[in-house]
Point group: C2
Chain length 123, copies 2
């Protein structure tokens, strides 16, 4: 079950949808925002967990928190507390199992679009 606590997780565990609760529409909605797409691209690029503070987004902290929450609640990312840091990781295996090829095609499309638009901000 994906809702089980991760090793070392505390009572501050954040709610995540189990695999069978993840919906395509919710994932597409989560990915349809330029900031959230940027977060997902960075997580995919490092293939590791990143703390929220490691993202340099041109929005307020509360807006950043909102975007991470939308990504978590839709099943795109997993957020766990490790000490004082909230770490974010892409749920790539779950997404690839549920929607084969979808995440890769979105990441490729986002990369191509960023190249195509050059220095212009995505979106």
């Amino acid at each position: 079950m994906t809702t089980e606590a991760a090793p070392g997780a505390s009572s501050r565990d954040l709610p995540h949808p189990a695999c069978e609760e993840i919906r395509l529409e919710g994932v597409l909605h989560a990915l349809s925002d330029p900031m959230r797409l940027q977060i997902v691209r960075e997580l995919a690029a490092v293939s590791d967990e990143l703390s929220c503070s490691q993202f340099d987004l041109p929005v307020t902290k509360s807006t950043t928190t909102h975007h991470f929450r939308v990504l978590r609640e839709s099943g795109v990312i997993r957020q766990v507390y490790r000490g004082t840091a909230k770490l974010n990781g892409l749920r790539r295996d779950d997404l690839d199992d549920l929607f084969p090829g979808l995440l890769d095609s979105v990441l490729t499309a986002a990369g191509n679009q960023a190249d195509r638009l050059g220095g212009v901000a995505v979106g």
Copy 2:
């Protein structure tokens, strides 16, 4: 140019984004609604143009019109008047050129999800 009038189009031409104006975020947003996803699945299944009245959606006519407009303005479908009918067609070639594999992976994911959820309404 994709903004050129289609053969036989009248002065009632509806505005469409040119290929270079289509954005990934807009396409993902358009596809993130269960009704709009259903419309796209039906258009993909018939590989032809369909009039709005050929879709049997459980929403009001004005809501249906709104959904078609979102799909057109994001670049997912093309809408043309033919006589008194407004015909809708998927911009598959444009989408496949811009975002290779994206539409197919979304359609496959939507089909798998519909199978998985059985009789339960998608979304």
